[in-house]
Amino acid sequence: EAGVTQFPSHSVIEKGQTVTLRCDPISGHDNLYWYRRVMGKEIKFLLHFVKESKQDESGMPNNRFLAERTGGTYSTLKVQPAELEDSGVYFCASSHRDRVWVNTEAFFGQGTRLTVV
């Protein structure tokens, strides 16, 4: 079974440019999450999809960040325009919802290291 896959693994862009990160969750997982680790600090939640719907986007830092999940499958996270403080590692995770709507173990992708210069 394929795990959570993220593209690209590393991206270096200039301040003001646009970057789009992609996440392919484990097949059949309704839950898809985005997290990030900035400046070596703790890993923080960005948002949560259940299928194609945004369940919780309270962690999105500002309106320069836009996440989508087309048809409840893969997801993209666009940063436009990128700022220096957006540098960090962006993780995607997916999990299954069981029959009583309890979230189960979350599996993480390998992360995308974003460097804004």
Binding site: Y35, I43, T104, E105, F108
Partner: protein, 109 residues
Amino acid sequence: GIQVEQSPPDLILQEGANSTLRCNFSDSVNNLQWFHQNPWGQLINLFYIPSGTKQNGRLSATTVATERYSLLYISSSQTTDSGVYFCAVEQTSGSRLTFGEGTQLTVNP
């Protein structure tokens, strides 16, 4: 929101030593996971352990949910165990994982 505290923040060991990492959390949880972030930045699932004890090779974990803590044991440490160990919890009323700040482990040969 829920608070997650990990200790110690940094740990340096000689190869072959044993260690215990701790994770305290401030509220009831229905999910607790331990992760290892390796030097390449990848987050590796170690344990899904909302309660009880599990073992996987040289690693084992125990969560005492009623007392709101979890322990990760590493025995006979190896240099490849180096990296950051994260504890993450999901509140019973929540839908996302909240991470601790991690324990930076360095195992010297």
